[in-house]
């Protein structure tokens, strides 16, 4: 059951990612990218990480995808013409792919017996965040507050 679901979701996610990379219209590419995000969220659900999956949808569809889409809308007119083939991109892609393959082949065995982990509930995540990871959490909060204030200052009306 879950392996069949895995295959279906994997095909959909990969197809969406491929479409995001190849589609001519930038807006279509951005929307397929959002679909790929949904596929990744589905993987999290399949793994039983409900909370992470929901946050994935929440952050990446609700915020990041909307941000990308608006950036495209506000920054460029429809560029329809083909801008030629980008060879440097191919080089980078091959380098990354080669690096990953090298790392995978170098790993002796990936079939490590998974340890028994209790079900990951929101309560446990909350407790761990509030006890063991309180400093990273506070740092992230501080960073986000700084970003928020920065955004406010950027759009603030100048006093005349």
């Amino acid at each position: 059951m879950s392996s069949a679901a895995f295959v279906v979701i994997a095909i959909l996610t990969l197809a969406a990612a491929l479409a995001a990379a190849t589609l001519q219209k930038l807006m279509h590419a951005a929307l397929s990218f959002a679909l790929a995000f949904v596929g990744i969220a589905a993987f999290f659900f399949l793994l039983g990480a409900e909370f992470v999956g929901l946050v994935q949808v929440f952050v990446y569809i609700g915020a990041v995808a909307v941000l990308i889409v608006f950036t495209i809308l506000l920054t460029r007119r429809d560029v329809e013409k083909d801008r030629g083939f980008n060879w440097s991109g191919v080089v980078v892609a091959i380098a990354v792919f080669g690096g990953l393959i090298w790392a995978i082949l170098k790993t002796r065995s990936v079939s490590i017996a998974a340890p028994e982990i209790p079900a990951l509930t929101v309560e446990r995540i909350g407790q761990v965040l509030m006890t063991g990871y309180i400093w990273p959490l506070l740092c992230v909060g501080l960073l986000l507050t700084a970003a928020l204030i920065g955004a406010l200052i950027l759009v603030m009306e100048e006093k005349r």
Binding site: M1, K25, M27, H28, L31, A34, E50, F51, L54, V55, V57, F58, I61, G62, A63, A65, V66, V69, F70, L73, T121, V122, E123, E157
Partner: protein
């Protein structure tokens, strides 16, 4: 007898599933989910049809006219006529529109609206999909609506559509913050993101008669009002319906939609309204709990739908009463008033909890909210705002 009437739908589902007795687990799961989905769609599409005609009747009454009264008794078959009209209307797609995006937008918006209904407890043991972080699921699904609205606006390739979509997304993003932050105190106090546990925490009675609903605590009342206003904005209802302000930008992101696609948008809007009211009931109004011990013999789902009807009536009442607000007023209200008040609710709930959840905590949290409210009303200078509007760029 009482219990069996309360659980009648659970029994019916078990009866339906009984023939599948020996089937493997996943077949049972799929069958059970399908039953839930069909029940949800059946109930809420019927409710949509009913509300669409009731809204017109109530608005008619408020505006001193009759409302629809030609089709069937009291005009009750009006939605059937409307549905047939919408189905057989020509579906017009603009030549310059992006066909795929234009086609997908109504589907996405309706799908997300229906998905959000799935996690709300409608009665005792009657949560269609009881997931551990149901509240988060509700908002995760709801945040997808923004993308759908954008797709509708951009796919139509029309200035009015795009402007409407921009307005809709601006106000949705702004009010999503107070909406989610007003949910936080409830989640904090209960200690769970699961709607079932939130409803369970509101059972029982204080002093033997007063129901323990969160709306009866000061932070709960303030949070409920903020939640309700944010819900109005999220479902694009009057007085916050600038995205489709018909006197300004035709119909906003729905300008280029006709026939059944327009009906789908319309339906999604109403279902979104049901979902947000249902969540408000779950969080603050005690879910399916009865308001008095003596009234517990009435089945739990009837209580839920009674509360839902009351909230929907308030929605319609507001639509009949209030004029449309301006875009800048909506934004100012969100960031300068709603957001600070929402954070205050979180603090007030914490004060209530640490003062022992009793009468002392009740007074303390009321004090916190009152102090912030008065400070805000002084700083925002609500009185001297009646000056001619100045335009920054359009002079």
């Amino acid at each position: 007898m009482i219990g069996s009437l309360d659980q009648i739908f659970i029994r019916a589902k078990q009866l339906l599933l009984a023939p599948l007795g020996g089937a493997p687990d996943w077949v049972m799961q799929i069958a059970s989910s399908l039953i839930n989905i069909f029940a949800l769609l059946g109930v809420f599409l019927t409710l949509f049809a009913l509300i669409s005609v009731l809204e017109r009747k109530i608005l008619g009454r408020m505006q001193n006219r009759y409302g629809p009264n030609r089709v069937g008794p009291f005009g009750l078959f009006q939605p059937v006529a409307d549905g047939i009209k919408m189905l057989i209307k020509e579906d017009i797609v603009p030549t310059r529109a992006d066909k795929i995006v234009h086609f997908l937008a109504p589907i996405l918006i309706a799908a997300t609206a229906v998905l959000a209904l799935g996690v709300i407890p409608y009665g005792r043991n009657m949560t269609p999909f009881a997931i551990d972080s149901g509240i988060l699921f509700f908002f995760a699904v709801g945040s997808t609506t923004e993308l759908a609205v954008f797709m509708a606006g951009w796919g139509s390739n029309n200035k009015f559509s795009m402007l409407g979509a921009m307005r809709a997304i601006a106000q949705m993003i702004s009010y999503e913050l107070p909406l989610i932050i007003t949910v936080l105190p409830v989640v904090m106090v209960v200690g769970a993101l699961s709607p079932d546990r939130i409803v369970a925490a509101q059972g029982g009675y204080a002093f033997g008669f007063a129901p323990c609903w969160f709306v009866f605590t000061p932070w709960g009342a303030a949070a409920f009002i903020l939640f309700f206003v944010s819900g109005l904005v999220e479902s694009n209802r009057t007085p916050f319906d600038v995205p489709e302000g018909e006197s300004e930008i035709v119909a906003g992101h729905m300008t280029e939609y006709s026939g059944f696609k327009y009906a789908t948008f319309f339906m999604a809007e109403y279902i979104g309204m049901f979902a947000i009211s249902g969540l408000g009931i779950t969080l603050f109004l005690g879910g399916w709990h009865a308001p008095m011990r003596g009234l517990e013999f009435i089945p739990s789902y009837l209580w839920f739908f009674a509360k839902l009807s009351a909230l929907l009536f308030v929605y319609i009442w507001l639509r009949g009463t209030l004029p449309r607000t301006r875009v800048d007023q909506i934004m100012n209200f969100a960031w300068k008033f709603m957001l600070p008040m929402a954070f205050t609710c979180v603090i007030a709930a914490a004060v209530w909890h640490y003062a022992g959840r009793g009468f002392a905590g009740w007074l303390w949290s009321l004090g916190v909210i009152a102090v912030v409210y008065f400070i805000l009303s002084i700083f925002l200078e609500t009185r001297k705002k009646f000056a001619p509007r100045t335009y920054r760029f359009a002079e």
